[in-house]
């Protein structure tokens, strides 16, 4: 499903965020991406939805080299990838349900279908009552969940999450993890960048550890690595 071949990313500032990284993630896999702050986790996710392009190497998603996509082909890729952002990226002037519905409207989904799916996505993340509020009226954790609802409303084959539980209390974090597990069971490939040791340790899923832009550990049923960084 996802394949990185000798991928390097050097930012214009000269920072080497990723160095000759090789990684393969199969369909329906659930992978934790861990590593110290500044290791290159967000950068790797950005390469996958082509918010950045690699300086060297190839990034393949669903068999397509996405570094070679034209601007015209970009929407197609983005529609097949749901992303939960570390800094939410919600539209401040739209209500919660409008934010979630947005990804569907863009595709020309019928209004009934939009309503149905938006409702069930908000139900899943536990924000049914906040549907008509503005993002600015929500707590940090609630905004994070809106972002998750938007990412899954479209049932994309790939879901990328950057610190989805960074601002959530342990209870809600577990709810979200259960939710991601369920989505994963329906066949969605999921990559989660996280620092949440507790969750990584208990879930016993594949854990990919990067540090200083290099892949240093890839455990099939791992825990949060100790003493890294």
């Amino acid at each position: 499903m996802i394949r990185l071949k000798q991928v390097s990313k050097i930012y214009p500032s000269g920072v080497r965020a990723l160095v000759s990284l090789n990684l393969e993630i199969g369909p329906s896999e659930f992978v934790f991406l861990v590593g110290p702050s500044g290791a290159g986790k967000s950068t790797m996710l950005k390469l996958l939805y082509r918010s950045e392009i690699p300086t060297a190497g190839q990034v393949l998603v669903g068999g397509v080299d996405i570094g070679k996509l034209s601007i015209r082909q970009l929407p197609g890729l983005r529609q097949r990838i749901g992303v939960v952002f570390q800094d939410y990226k919600l539209l401040p002037q739209r209500t919660v349900s409008e934010n979630v519905a947005f990804a569907l409207k863009v595709l020309g989904t019928s209004r009934r279908e939009i309503d149905r799916r938006t409702h069930s996505a908000l139900d899943l993340v536990g924000l049914r009552e906040q549907a008509d509020l503005m993002p600015g009226q929500l707590s940090g954790g609630q905004q994070q969940r809106v972002c998750l609802a938007r990412a899954i409303v479209n049932t994309p084959p790939v879901l990328l999450c950057d610190e989805p539980t960074g601002n959530l209390d342990p209870e809600t974090s577990w709810d979200i993890m259960r939710l991601l597990t369920r989505i994963n069971q329906h066949g969605t490939t999921i990559v989660v960048a996280t620092h949440n040791k507790m969750i990584v340790d208990s879930m016993r899923r594949r854990v990919v550890t990067i540090d200083g832009g290099r892949l240093i550990l890839d455990q099939p049923r791992g825990g949060y690595p100790v003493g890294v960084g």
Binding site: E52, R72, P75, K89, G108, R150
Partner: protein, 301 residues
């Protein structure tokens, strides 16, 4: 595929909805763009009109220029008048007999000339006063009249006419220049203002791209929004231009009562449609360029 068509229409509906929502949502920002647009179009339209009016005025003054044809002692005044009347370009003729002319001259020169010392014999010829249809025709018509038998001489505001033609050319040239410059200014100012509002919404554009909206899909709401701004600006500007013009016409007519200035309704309509075109065009282009800027910036290229 009917499904594709349906999807297209749903997207179109969404775009229209978005555009309208965006105008109302970003209330005071929209207000600023509309005000800027109104002001710019107002200045543009006002100057456009003024230069049109000035041109019409100088033309009307030119139309006042008459040809005076002096009939020879042995000429047949009435016959000559009807011959002139039939010349192409002639609007009207009027006969002034030598007696009328003599009386008028005595009247006019009362304080300057001591007529008592003059022989009472009338030295003046019969005169035919000729009006032409188009001030540009004065010179050729005058030449034709001069060539008619029985015409002893002619007189017309030759110098005035040349001067007027110069002024008309100047007014037209300066008008075109100023209107052209203002058009560019309008484009710059309103286009830039729209740019700033789009800039303020670059996050929105970024997110649209992230959820997989196509470039066209992202463009359209902004384009429509720009056109709505243009439309609103033109409507407001028209609401101020029409009364201003009536006021101006009344004042001008007061100043130049001898020159007929007609409130040409059609010219007004034409001007307003030009303004609408400029307004909506500027709105659409201003949006287009700035959206494109952000699109490229956010595509990871």
């Amino acid at each position: 595929m009917p499904n594709r068509v349906l999807t297209f229409w749903r997207q179109a509906g969404f775009v229209a909805e978005e555009a309208v929502a965006s105008v109302t949502r970003s209330g005071w920002m929209s207000g600023i763009v509309v005000i800027t647009m109104t002001v710019s179009l107002l200045i543009l339209g006002g100057i456009w009109q003024l230069s049109d009016d000035l041109y019409a005025l100088t033309r009307a003054v030119g139309a006042k220029v008459e040809i005076m044809a002096f009939v020879a002692q042995d000429g047949d005044t009435a016959q000559l008048a009807s011959a002139i009347d039939e010349l192409p370009g002639v609007a009207s003729t009027q006969i002034i007999t030598k007696d009328q002319a003599w009386q008028q001259l005595q009247q006019e020169m009362k304080s300057q000339v001591d007529f008592s010392g003059l022989l009472q014999d009338n030295p003046l010829p019969d005169t035919i006063r000729v009006k032409v249809q188009d001030p540009a025709d004065v010179a050729p018509v005058a030449d034709k009249i001069q060539a008619l038998p029985g015409v002893e001489g002619i007189n017309y505001g030759h110098d005035l006419l040349a001067k007027l033609e110069q002024i008309m050319a100047f007014v037209q040239m300066a008008g075109l220049l100023v209107v052209g410059a203002l058009m560019v200014a309008t484009l710059a100012v309103t286009g830039n203002t729209i740019r700033l509002t789009v800039q303020a919404r670059r996050r929105e554009i970024e997110i649209m791209q992230l959820v997989g909206a196509s470039a066209g899909f992202i463009h359209w709401p902004f384009l429509l929004e720009g056109m709505i701004f243009g439309l609103m600006g033109t409507l407001l500007a028209s609401g101020l231009l029409v009364p201003w013009r009536s006021f101006l016409l009344i004042r001008l007519q007061e100043l130049f009562p001898f020159v007929p200035i007609d409130a040409d309704g059609l010219a007004m309509v034409r001007l307003l449609s030009y303004l609408l075109l400029v307004g909506m065009g500027v709105g659409a282009l201003g949006s287009l360029f700035s959206v494109r800027r952000h699109l490229v910036a956010a595509s990871g290229q």
